[in-house]
């Protein structure tokens, strides 16, 4: 009953957040349509009347023609908020440098970000093991405490079979309950399960839940077979929970941060400013250097003195070229840190389960990285499109509106996600196998008296 309430609350939070994002994206789409509609009618008037002044191509690429690159709200948003409370899910890509349009974060109380969201992934990763523990911690010790163990151990049935059956019944009950609630939550939360791709994804998600529950069942079996009393069993199990869910992750974070310190984004901000200032101070030298590096941009051979957008963008790109190695060093330092963290996190099945559950629900950090990559590629295409027009001093035609680079983002299929998560899944599976084998052996020799 309590668990049902908790699950409903988690699903509700996921759904509300999904709706909030959908509303925001709809507002953005509306604003984009309005902006492009206005541009379209302006271009139409310019075609009919040569006295109508058009904004320069640079201004079109910086604002008038821009649209938002959008990371869609996933179909299974009800299952997870995941990393999506922290990372931007849209970007208004322009001819300006990336730093100018990726700076906008969603408005959020930092206190809530610190706490994290009460979503279904949290319910599964943190609360579900507690429910399992509460219902099974005295499966063996309880028999001993009541003295019933001595009775049936006299019978010619293997202890392992009886105890596993007892554990199995309770586990099936908890898991069955969890699955029913999760399916219910997905239905009520509006996940389009009729779509086979979504249904498959949800099935994969439930399988990860089952895998994680299996890990805890293996732990529970061993502890049950080892503990001398029910109290000792409860303490040991909660201790394991604490270690897996709190101690190991926090220690991994601390250790990784100590060995691979985070590169400073603050330093990046000052370096970008220094590079921009240098490029601006070079004036014509920077512009000419950029044009010499990109001869394809110019059709006339020189940049007209009146082409202020051309000068601005050439200077900007000079600064960006100078920043490229700095960004690369920053990215690779960060990538090293994340790789180390990923490897060390394998010590905690809770972190593995969280990662897999978020990724299958399309709410993971990994998905934001893909989005970021897609935005980068789109940004390049966008710049190329407008740079040709700015430097070639070619005015935009109305017919060309249809040929504006469009942002394309394709979510990974469930097969691709699972392939990427195979390390995570193995890291989850391995302790299950080892612990089950140990548990099996321990059960056979479980003591009748302490």
């Amino acid at each position: 009953m309590l668990f049902a309430l908790i699950a409903a609350y988690g699903a509700w939070n996921g759904r509300q957040w999904g709706r909030f994002q959908e509303t925001t994206l709809a507002e953005l789409a509306q604003a984009d349509a309005k902006r492009l509609g206005a541009l379209d009618s302006l271009l139409l008037r310019a075609e009919q009347d040569s006295t109508v002044l058009l904004p320069p191509a640079g201004a079109l690429g910086a604002s008038f023609a821009t649209r938002h690159a959008v990371l869609p709200v996933p179909a299974l948003a009800v299952l997870a908020v995941g990393a999506s409370d922290l990372h931007p899910y849209y970007a208004r890509v322009s001819v300006r440098s990336k730093a100018s349009f990726m700076a906008s974060d969603e408005v959020e109380n930092p206190h809530n970000l610190l706490a994290g969201r009460f979503d279904l992934v949290f319910v599964v990763v943190w609360v579900l093991p507690l429910l399992l523990i509460a219902l099974t911690y005295n499966t063996v010790t309880g028999e001993r405490d009541q003295g019933t163990m001595a009775l049936w151990r006299a019978q010619p049935v293997p202890a392992t079979r009886v105890l596993l059956a007892k554990l199995g019944v309770r586990a099936v009950f908890v898991l069955g309950l969890a699955v029913v609630l999760l399916v219910l939550a997905a239905f009520v939360g509006g996940a389009p399960l009729a779509d086979p791709a979504v249904a498959l994804r949800f099935l994969a998600w439930l399988s990860v839940v089952a895998l994680y529950a299996l890990f805890w069942l293996a732990v529970i079996t061993i502890v049950n077979a080892t503990a001398r009393s029910s109290a000792a069993s409860a303490v040991l199990l909660l201790g394991s929970w604490l270690i897996v869910v709190v101690v190991v992750p926090a220690t991994v974070s601390a250790a990784v941060a100590a060995v691979y310190p985070s590169p400073s984004r603050v330093a990046l901000t000052t370096e970008l400013r220094a590079a921009s200032d240098r490029a601006a101070a070079q004036g014509d030298t920077a512009v000419n250097q950029f044009l010499a590096d990109h001869p394809e941009m110019l059709q006339t051979g020189t940049l007209a003195a009146s082409n202020s957008w051309g000068r601005t963008l050439a200077t900007q790109e000079r600064a960006n070229d100078a920043m490229r190695p700095v960004y690369a060093a920053f990215d690779s330092a960060l990538a090293r840190q994340h790789a180390a963290a990923g490897l060390a996190s394998m010590l905690s099945p809770a972190v593995m389960a969280q990662e897999a559950l978020q990724d299958v629900a399309d709410r993971s950090l990994a998905r934001f990285r893909y989005f970021d990559g897609a935005v980068d590629r789109h940004h390049q295409a966008w710049q190329a499109f407008f740079f040709q027009r700015v430097f070639g001093e070619r005015p935009m035609r109305r017919a060309e509106l249809a040929t504006l680079p469009a942002f394309a983002f394709r979510d990974r299929t469930i097969g691709e996600v699972l392939r990427e998560q195979r390390g995570t899944l193995v890291a989850l599976l391995l302790p299950i196998l080892v612990l089950s084998w140990l548990g099996w052996r321990r059960l056979a020799t479980v003591a009748v008296h302490t």
Partner: protein
């Protein structure tokens, strides 16, 4: 009598190897947490300070420039790391650490450190605060759960009752015993904290920091006292050891790990905040159409124009001895500032309402109140962030006004190509940030203190009513 009971408890615990291991591990963990906390907050402080100096350098050396171009160039300011942040990082990883101060616009803070962190980081950090909030309470539960229930199971409780030991005495004795065992961990930890504070003292206000640290220590001590009494009462009321343990561990789990998230989501639903898009659009609309919707920007500009002409007793802008463009820009800055104050003020008030609700929820889960107080005292809460954001914004407004005034007084209308001398920029003082005093920090924590007081009274009441406990 109380001393005897306490000594018996202490001796028993000390003989228990598990307790020795646990307390040594806890102490080690606290030491590591304090030291890594100190390193982290120092390197952040240095990082931000050198960035701040670099930005000042860029500003000062921007060369001959039109004052308005300089205002557009602006500068970035960086949030300093306060002296006590080593003990509790609070929301520091989840607020942006820098903002761009430029003409026309109050920008939001960007570069949240948490955005660069790996997945596992969202599971929590090992700060001193985390150890005090999660592990010490767990140790208290582990020490206190068998206090009565265990003696009841073994039958010694009946003997004690038979020789006429009052329940209150028994309870006080056991509390004193467990407290003295905890002191083995907490006293060195506190000393270590003071030493860390002293080590990390980077010209902070010594007295204020010490007072903050003292209040931080008192907060945690009171919290531990409340937990100790609760645990003893549960132990006394439970039928057996197992029930006591399960009840206490259940409470610990809900209190420390489930409640913070559950309440954060509740607070978001009760006091929703706008999306970034809606927030920006609302400000844009108010700047264009006026806060009341009937005072559009061009009408405001006409009024400014009329006033300038009246003031200088001329009939045309060309005849003005000053630059009207600068006057108009400053007027629109000032109007925008009222809009920013309105919207950012409302947003931060929303955050405050959410956080106050979280503090009230401390009535159910006392840790929520303690967490809030801890962050507030360490200077790593949302209110501290707001204080910095407001100071940074005031600096921006001063800077922009200064550049507009200079532009106004030294040029005539339309002289956009005019350039101010390169040595001008150093004349505007650099941004310095004075962190607020203890009183400011406590202002936002009134509810948390009240809630902690309620829990304190409750546990005192439980102690007084101890004789009514069904001991045997």
């Amino acid at each position: 009598m109380i001393a005897h009971i306490a000594r018996k408890e202490r001796t028993e615990m000390w003989r228990d190897g598990r307790f020795r291991v646990a307390s040594v591990a806890l102490l080690l963990l606290l030491m590591v947490a304090l030291l890594t906390g100190l390193t982290a907050s120092r390197s952040t402080a240095q990082d931000h300070e050198s960035a701040q100096n670099a930005m000042r350098g860029f500003w000062v050396n921007q060369g001959a420039k039109n004052p308005h171009s300089a205002a557009h160039y602006g500068l970035w300011v960086f949030k300093p790391s306060l002296p006590l942040s080593f003990a509790d990082h609070g929301v520091d990883a989840y607020t942006g650490v820098t903002t761009w101060l430029e003409a026309h616009k109050q920008n939001e803070f960007t570069r949240r450190p948490a955005m660069d962190r790996p997945n596992v980081a969202r599971f929590g950090e090992w700060t001193a605060a985390a150890v005090l909030q999660l592990l010490v309470p767990l140790l208290i539960v582990m020490l206190a759960f068998p206090a009565f229930a265990g003696e009841r199971d073994t039958g010694t409780l009946r003997q004690l009752a038979a020789i006429g030991v009052p329940v209150r005495t028994l309870m006080l004795g056991k509390a004193a015993g467990i407290a003295s065992a905890l002191a083995v961990v907490l006293i060195p930890a506190t000393l270590l904290g003071v030493a860390t504070l002293w080590l990390g003292a980077n010209g902070g206000r010594g007295v204020d920091d010490l007072m903050r640290f003292a209040m931080l220590s008192v907060t945690y001590l009171l919290y531990f006292a409340v937990l100790l009494v609760l645990a003893l009462v549960v132990s006394a009321r439970s039928r057996n050891v197992r029930t006591a343990l399960v009840l206490l561990l259940g409470f610990w789990t809900l209190n420390s790990l489930v409640a913070p998230r559950a309440v954060a989501d509740l607070a978001r639903q009760v006091y929703p905040t706008p999306s970034a898009v809606a927030f920006q659009a609302a400000m844009q609309k108010d700047i264009e159409q006026g806060l009341d919707g009937h005072n559009p920007a061009d009408a405001r500009r006409k009024a400014v124009e009329a006033q300038a002409l009246r003031e200088y007793r001329t009939v045309s802008l060309e005849a003005l001895p000053v630059n009207f463009d600068a006057i108009a820009m400053q007027a629109s800055e000032e109007y925008a500032n009222t809009v920013f104050d309105h919207h950012f003020g409302a947003l931060y008030d929303r955050y405050r309402a959410q956080n106050t609700l979280t503090q009230w929820a401390g009535l159910v889960s006392p840790l929520l109140a303690v967490r809030s107080l801890s962050m507030g005292l360490a200077g790593t809460d949302v209110e501290q962030h707001r204080h910095f954001a407001v100071q940074a914004e005031l600096y921006r407004r001063g800077l922009i006004k200064w550049s507009n005034d200079y532009f106004r007084d030294n040029t005539r209308t339309g002289e956009w190509d005019w350039k101010a001398p390169p040595e001008l920029w150093a004349k505007y003082p650099p941004f310095t940030y004075e962190a607020p005093l203890l009183g400011h920090a406590l202002g936002a924590q009134r509810t948390a203190m009240l809630v902690l007081g309620v829990w304190l009274l409750l546990s005192l009441g439980l102690l007084v009513r101890a004789p009514a406990l069904p001991v045997v």
